[in-house]
Amino acid sequence: MKHITVSLWLLLSSALVLGASERNSAFESGKRNFESGNYEKAIELFSQAISSPSDSAQRNRAYYYQGLALFEQGLYFSSFISFRNVLLAAEDKNREIHEKAIKNAAIITDRLDMVEKLGKVIDKLPAGYVPGSVGGVAHYAQGVYHFSNGQYESALSHFKSVSPDSQFYDKALMYLGILSTRAKNYKESSFYFSKLLEMSQGKKDLFPQAELARLNLARTYYSAGNIEKSIELYSQFLSSSPYWLTVLQEAGWPLMRANDTTVSLGNLHTVLSPFYREDLVGESYILKATILYSLCKYEEMKRTLTQFFNVYDPVIRSMQQETASLGSADALYRAFANEKGMSSAFLNFIKRDSGISRDVKILNLLKAERNQLARFSRNSQINNMINLIQEAEKGLETQMGLAMQRIHRKKLTDLLAQREQANYLKVEIVTGEKDLIEGQRGLPPKRVTDVETSVASGYHFWPFTGEYWQDEMGTYVYTTESACVN
């Protein structure tokens, strides 16, 4: 009996030892392959090491190295999943890889615009499991997570904890500016945007961020009533800016407040040119009509409003039909993806949206990654990753659909409000003309003003003959004088 028991014990221990050495050999073999650049083989070996029952420390290390190998293969989302799994099973024995897992996961999720997913995981980590060296990264990720959940106070607190030497400090500043604007604290928001603009100057890779910071700063100054500063910032945008068209539209408001009709009408001339007039720029028609009203240019005002109705009445009808036929976010996304069932005006507007363009790129990345993963031998690990990518794709499509739905609703509401304003302005034309006649007891003679145009050295001017040239966009100037008699 003793013999049998001892033999049984011996058998069990050798099985355990064998199993452990198998796991170790899969992990060690994987590591060797990783170090020699055979990433595909390494991924498969790490999958084996993970799948077999093993101690958690070994499994976590296998996840970590698998994450690195997947990253080298350009399989970013899968790589993030592996690093996330390291953090989900956080324990004392693996503290040395937590720091690296957090850092790598942050880089990947930032590239995939999914930082909130990392933030959610870090939020659940026990206290003391986030090394001080990645504190800034962790706070940023948590900030984004709380921001996406509408928990703005805690988001603010996390973003303020991101240190200036963190790689995400500039992005944290952007979020801080947005949160301060949301709270209508314009002094703070202008501080954050100014700081971000200063940091981004001269750095080519931060150019889009710098432009967005400048735009937000201009908007903040306008909201705070600092019209001159707002105009100064709007004037700094060049045609190479991704926000150039938006700036041409928005700058008209502070310019109108400053009575600068020369540049504001010139900017609107570009926005309402055949190149852009159908890209949901209805507000520009209303702004132009308002400025023309202040100059008593009623005939021109009539033409502008007529053009608005001609261009946007069909767009409004089409968008109202879309609201009825494309009720759900998914339907809207499908219409966008297939470019069918959606008005061209709204489609062009959506394509210009930087958030949607970025999401499309990420979606394509995920689809390509899923196809690449299909090459690997199908084990539970790989299957799980494929499923998670599919879920992420579906989630992103739904997110895009919801965003488009929100934009569609807002744009339609705006267009309807603009249409109402246009109708009021039509009435104002009649009143204005009546005042013009009554004020002078007849009409004043047409003033013939010979405006001498001269420009600085290095500049030249062309007369506008009704023909729009692409290279002239953004360079128009109106030399019109007011026709008002008082």
Binding site: E299, P463, T475, Y476
Partner: protein
């Protein structure tokens, strides 16, 4: 009664016409005052091709003197021009190397003629080295197929230099006309027509004025890359 009705009707018509005419005048005036004609809209642009103290290097030029019946010349050229301002350029150096080809025209005549063979007193052109000025009074832009834009500048040139033939060197003058086409601020193309004129010494000791109508195309690179 009828007459009265007729009178009232005519009066009404006349007053309506007068009132309508007044209204038309007012409407017309309102239109005039309230319109912004195109003349009041101006495009103010930075000149795309600002040339103040910029250097134009044209290391690659091809062309020829193709208009001769008997002799045709292919040429490859390189030049350097310093532009003082937008309208005045100093072509400090232009070198064009020539390769001559003789057509079968003379051989055909001689083989079909019963008389003595004709020999033409032609000297092979070897190269031109010239220096001159360019005047650019015009500037414009062209659009191709409503898609691509290019900025064009016609110019006039004149200069002098040396024309080297296989037997002699001559002082040559040239007038010319050309077109510069800018694709970017630092890259352009030149299409030029020049007449190199010199007094060629014949075998019999006489001199004869020779015109060499040269056409060339050259690619140019500009420094600094962006205008100041």
């Amino acid at each position: 009664m009828k007459m009265l009705l007729l009178k009232i009707l005519s009066l009404a018509m006349v007053s309506h016409l007068l009132w309508a005419a007044d209204e038309n005048v007012i409407e017309k005036q309102l239109q005039e005052i309230g319109t912004i004609p195109n003349e009041e809209v101006v495009v103010v642009q930075r000149k795309f091709t600002r040339k103040d103290w910029r250097h134009e290097f044209s290391p690659l030029g091809f062309g020829g003197v193709p208009f001769g019946t008997y002799r045709r010349t292919l040429l490859g050229s390189a030049s350097y021009t310093l532009h003082a301002n937008d309208w005045l350029g100093l072509e400090l150096l232009n070198f064009s190397y020539n390769k001559n080809f003789f057509s079968s025209f003379l051989d055909d005549i001689n083989s079909n003629s019963s008389g003595p063979d004709i020999y033409l007193d032609y000297q092979k052109l070897l190269y031109f080295i010239t220096t001159g000025v360019q005047i650019t009074p015009f500037y414009g832009k062209v659009s191709t197929f409503s898609r691509w834009l290019a900025y064009v500048e016609p110019y006039f040139s004149a200069g002098l230099g040396v024309a080297k033939t296989e037997t002699n060197s001559y002082l040559a003058l040239y007038p010319g006309v050309g077109l510069r086409l800018f694709f970017t601020e630092w890259f352009s193309m030149r299409l030029e027509f020049r007449d190199y004129i010199y007094n060629e010494k014949k075998r019999d000791g006489n001199t004869e004025m020779r015109n060499n109508y040269a056409v060339s195309v050259a690619l140019s690179f500009w420094l600094p890359k962006m205008p100041r």
